[in-house]
Amino acid sequence: MVESTRARSDEPQSDPRKTDALSAGPVPVGTPTLRSAFDEDHPPSAELISDCVHCGFCLPTCPTYTLWGEEMDSPRGRIDLMKAGLEGAPLSDTMVQHFDACLGCMACVTACPSGVQYDKLIEATRVQVERHHTRSPGDRAMRAAIFALFPYKKRLRALRGPLRAYQASGLPKVVRGSGLLDRLAPKLAAMEGLAPVLEKREKLPERVPAAGARRAVVGMLTGCVQGEFFPGVNAATARVLAAEGCDVIIPRKQGCCGALSVHNGRQEEAQSFARATIDAFESAGVDAVVVNAAGCGSSMKEYADILADDPDYAERATAFSRKVRDVSEFLAELGSVAPRHPLEVTVAYHDACHLGHAQGIRSQPRGLLREIPGLQLREIAEAEVCCGSAGIWNVLNPEPARELGDRKARNIAGTGAELLVTANPGCLMQVSSSLERQGTRIGLAHTIEVIDASIQGLPVTTLGPQH
């Protein structure tokens, strides 16, 4: 049943223009009592909307269309809704529901032959939604909690102790077995199920010197979720960069890059995170800012747009964005010199949406993995469809996210690989909980951890928690 996971709105909106809207004509420009969906401050661009020729090529790669088969939850349908908003239709709960349901995976941007910049359209729309739409109290509270927690390393760190204790206690099995949390608070249950088994934190110095001749000086973003939940990834990134001849600068005062805020229309918060990140790296004198989390890298490449209206930062943001590189992108450009030791393992590589679709980085990580002797790379069916993680989408929309995660997990299992490799902490958490539910035994690792193991000559068994 396609119904099972449908995010429902409340009762259909009472719309005083209902009778008019049934007509063949355009929705009339709003009456004085109704405000139209968008204000004049950067609404979704009519020009970008007009690029859509309604061909439908975006539909099969859209996760929500795949789930529900409805136009309103497809990229071209959402563009129709934006157009309606520009023409004066109000920002109803129904309309917001369909914008909110978009995972922001950008698979449609890759699929679109007309070059529609849906990424820009949905981001502009989300800012308008945040500005003008009042959410239900429960939704508001959930979002407030998420944005009070995730972007802040210290708060995440404070959570580590209790989380580790909980994980060690055997309680998770009881909680999941009872299904009680699923019924009482599905969104909380989603968070519980997604939390990874925590590794020990490795403290990184502010500067990791290049091994051998210096080839580049790079800054490294440690991120919030990556840093606290997957500290091993940051340590591996620093080791690999150093092994490839990079001085790695890790500024202490860096914080969240603002990706979660950007992707949820929290404009001012995003801008302030962006400014702070630029401040943290600007004085470090680095050739490149290397990022190992796909969502973060994608947002940092957008800083020029995010701060375009800020006279103090616009130019600096443009210069900064030009320096941002995903770690696989950077290593591929640099070319490898550190010798690789064999890793006899079959790997399924999962394209994180914000790496593949948003940054167009697909061949580089595969190329780096293929450099490892003995490693066999396998492709996952439906690679272009999102795993359902999508930042905080899986927390806000637990049921459909679970369906997408399970679908991805089936395709991963279908490869028969021993190790799943991807480049985003969100994907790792999402996919691992689906794999666990499905009972698939497979190791999980970030691309850079695999390269690190190969350079260090470590055995495959050191890679990722085995399920």
Binding site: Q13, S23, H54, T94, P113
Partner: protein, 518 residues
Amino acid sequence: MSGTHGTQTTAGPVLGDTPPEATSATGEAGDNAAGIAAVGRVARALMPETGVIADPTQLRTYECDGLAHYRVTPALVVLPETTEQLAAVVRACSEHGVPFVARGSGTGLSGGALPRADGVLLVTSRMRTIREVRRADQRAIVEPGVINLDVTRAATPEGYYYAPDPSSQQICSIGGNLAENSGGAHCLKYGFTSNHVLGTELITPQGDVVQLGGLAPDSPGYDLLGTVVGSEGTLGIATTATVRLVRLPEEVRTLLVGFHTTDDAGAATSAIISAGVLPAAIEMMDALAIEAAEAAVHCNYPDGAGAVLVIELDGASAEVEHEYALVEQFCQQNGSFELRLATDATERALIWRGRKSAFAAVGRISPDYIVQDGVIPRTALPEVLRAIAELSSSSGVRVANVFHAGDGNLHPLVLFDGEKDGASEAAEQVSGAILDLCITHGGAITGEHGVGVDKAAYMPKMFTDDDLDTMQLVRCAFDPGNISNPGKIFPTPRLCGEVPGKRKKAHPLVEAGLADAF
């Protein structure tokens, strides 16, 4: 609908788009509100809440299919999941005289799934189960919302595929393919949808579920299946299709050949086919179309080519080897300056990507454009192409050409900027003149996109009143209530009780006792 034709995309200004005036083809909003309400009640009783859409905001997203120029908001959208649900809704429509329009993925290019303002849009996107892949029978039984390419994906592990491959194969639905008798690049060798559908479960406009054809290659009696395939949703709604699966060829060779002119490329095409070589596909793109595809998908076609041919040979290796040598020879004899053979699946995909994205890619080089679809005998190709070029230079309207050269199916793309005064009208004139060229050269006004609402006005140019009246008799036999996608195909919809045509006496077929007016 007056005189507009071709697939005009609504790039250009968004605000102020004017939908077509309510006409007999689109219905009047608010008509038969009681009937619509009754159908809604039936649907809601059978389906989950999200299966029935009446919210005006949501309805807007169903205003058009792949032909965005025509927009009509349906009174109600229903998304059934089973044949039973769909049949019950159709029965309710029949009972209350409510017109309905079936829609699959909404990618059609002739407005065949343009909704009715006074009707129900029946969307099959949730009926997407591949029920059976019968390897030994070389058949698959699929629901109408199943995506064309998914049939191939399901059959490939068994060594088979589904041959008709419209450019939109990654998203177009089998139900839509059946309604439009869709073709594709490979129909040169393998034929259209009608050659690959062996049976269908059909809901008649009265809501009865009937089976036409089946697993066997032919059924006795009238070829009702043949009548239904390509009927553009006017004779009922298919709820399953039994399709033929074709064995995957032992070898496939995809070539990209660069020519200086379309004349050279056309001559090479004719030489290949008249020598008895039947490639799976021969596609042509001219310089403008190449420019667009390059801008969109960076397909790396030969520099400076005035035309390229994409030629695909498939079959047994020995046969492909032999044909390849001939094709190479004919291309060289006709002035090709570069011939590339795809060495792996990635290169083959890139060659095809350039071709398959071409329509939408034209949006990169022109703010607005019309996708035309016409067909001519292949031998008329050079002459018609020259005439199109003359039309273009005399009118100053740019025309890009993308087409199935092997079977003479033209897709001229008429470029214009809707912001400029008179540009839209000039483009429409050129687009219409191209159809006239097709007719005068022994061709037809549509090769594969269908008539829909878009070309209904052109039907009288191709057919006499008697021809059209005869078609109406067929239609009325299936749909006496005129509720199944009314307003499509025929220029002036007529109720079945009316005497067809302007004449006063009976239709000649009726007079001769060969047909009956319903």
